[in-house]
């Protein structure tokens, strides 16, 4: 039996640079940062006072009663899923809902709901803990709410692999369709962790930038002045569909999801392997599963969080895996504008990768004033055209715990 091919037929997102796909793509091409000073009182006491809040509050989009029953991470997921579902055109198509699935990842889950209820417990007693706390804070709540919204009755999963989660959601969805367990899967990731506790924790582990300059200049992947990531929030959802199913209904196809590679470093709970060997194996596996060679890859949306070691290691793994082709690949970092969406990052960046292939243009990386001499990559600092013909692109995501996920998309 020939392999089941999977294509991208719908996109949705809410993130620090845009409340939907169109405004996000416009902002990414324009090189506009979504990083701002936090205005909450609690930010005053923190060592880091900036983050990438979503450009459009989900309560402006979702119905009020619906929104109050969802953790912020699930609110983002619903906004993104509703857009992706409408974009796919599937809402108007008669479907076998037993063949419709969800793979919606999160790195941390409903942490703000958990902490708000703990505050209520301490300040007002157990009677004030919400009866909705558990269905709101459980990590699979975003996936479950999307399932309820579209009537998905195949597998509804929540992969968790820290900052690689969003990509893992896409990889899992690919498996579900390739293994003939589903024909359509809504896949992606979401995160809402801009709260003093996670921010203090990331700051104390020296992961966040402590740069106190203009917030829009602090996330600066591969620049010599980088000193850590900036926390973002938001979600991305891709509608992944069996090629025959998409063609039978005349769907618009953005790109093909060719393959994925998932590996673990087994090196350290937080630090990536400094040689990038685990990430390199993920890229090699993604290429092999995609049945493409290094010379087909013309664009990489890098993990590139703006940390001193991580950005160097990713450059090494790109050279180790693509060889001479590494010099011909246009590389970019979405995080230079959005900050790091943690479990949402892989999903938002896969959307950027898909749109780069679809529109044949790579968005720029901003704030790259002085390229680190240890990084030998062709990084787009302005929008850069991608070649015509059959081309492929990679999206890399790496997470605490040594998680590495590379996904490969092809032009269609």
């Amino acid at each position: 039996m020939s392999r089941r091919r999977v294509v991208v037929t719908g996109l949705g997102t809410t993130n620090p640079v845009g409340g939907d796909v169109a405004s996000t793509w416009e902002a990414l091409l324009a090189g506009r940062s979504g990083i701002r000073h936090l205005t909450e009182d609690w930010a005053e006491e923190l060592p880091v006072k900036i983050a990438g809040r979503v450009a459009v509050e989900p309560t402006e989009v979702l119905e009020r009663v619906k929104a109050r029953r969802l953790d912020r991470s699930a609110q983002f997921a619903m906004v993104a899923a509703m857009e992706a579902w409408a974009d796919s055109g599937l809402a108007d198509v008669e479907l076998d809902h037993d063949r419709l699935g969800v793979a919606m990842a999160s790195g941390i889950g409903g942490v703000t709901t958990l902490l708000a209820n703990y505050d209520a417990l301490k300040e007002k007693g157990p009677r004030r803990v919400s009866p909705l706390a558990v269905p709101m804070l459980m990590p699979n709540a975003p996936a479950a709410n999307i399932s309820l919204y579209v009537g998905a009755r195949a597998a509804v999963n929540t992969p968790v692999s820290a900052c690689a989660s969003g990509n893992e959601g896409i990889a899992l969805a690919l498996d579900q369709i390739r293994l003939n367990r589903a024909d359509i899967v809504l896949a992606g990731g979401t995160e809402a962790a801009i709260h003093p506790l996670p921010m203090a924790a990331f700051a104390n582990m020296m992961a966040l930038s402590k740069n106190e300059g203009d917030p829009t200049t602090v996330s600066r992947p591969w620049d010599t002045g980088r000193d850590g990531f900036v926390l973002g929030e938001g979600a991305g959802v891709l509608v992944l569909e069996l090629l025959e199913h998409a063609q039978a209904r005349g769907a618009r196809i953005y790109a093909e999801l060719l393959g994925a590679g998932i590996t673990a470093d087994a090196h350290d709970i937080a630090q990536p392997d400094p040689a990038g060997r685990g990430g390199a194996r993920a890229i090699v596996r993604a290429l092999a599963e995609s049945e493409i060679s290094a010379s087909d890859v013309v664009h990489i949306n890098a993990h590139a969080t703006s940390t001193p070691q991580g950005d160097i290691a990713e450059g090494l793994m790109i050279h180790a895996t693509l060889g001479a082709q590494a010099d011909n690949v246009v590389v970019t970092s979405t995080k230079s504008m959005t900050g790091h969406l943690l479990g949402g990052a892989g999903a938002l960046e896969s959307i950027a990768t898909v749109l780069a292939l679809h529109n044949r243009v790579s968005p720029p990386t901003i704030n790259l004033d002085n390229l680190d001499p240890l990084v030998e990559l062709d990084i787009a600092t302005k929008p850069r055209d991608l070649p015509l013909g059959d081309i492929a692109a990679l999206n890399n995501s790496f997470g605490f715990g040594g998680a590495n996920v590379a996904v490969a998309f092809g032009s269609f």
Binding site: R64, V65, R68, S130, P131, L132
Partner: protein, 83 residues
């Protein structure tokens, strides 16, 4: 002491906040489950918010007996009078 109508109106606001049901529909003769479609978790939220608003205690056992909006308003009136 708040009047029956004042308690009903405040309770109606809580029901609206939790469930989105129009406050004008929350009348004394309406059943929470049959007329207003308030599910069990929402009912717990309404009760906890009412406890805070009216400074009363409504134990879980008592909640089962509150079939209508009127039942709840009477319970709150009696509980306030007992303080």
């Amino acid at each position: 002491m708040a009047s029956t109508e004042e308690i009903r109106a405040d309770l109606a606001e809580i029901v609206n906040e939790v469930t989105g049901i129009d406050a004008d529909d929350v009348q004394l003769d309406k059943s929470f489950t049959d007329d207003l479609d308030v599910d069990s978790l929402s009912m717990v939220e309404v009760v906890v918010a009412a406890e805070e608003k009216f400074d009363v205690r409504i134990p879980d056992d008592a909640v089962k007996g509150l079939k209508t909006v009127g039942d709840a308003v009477s319970y709150i009136e009696k509980a306030q009078a007992a303080v």
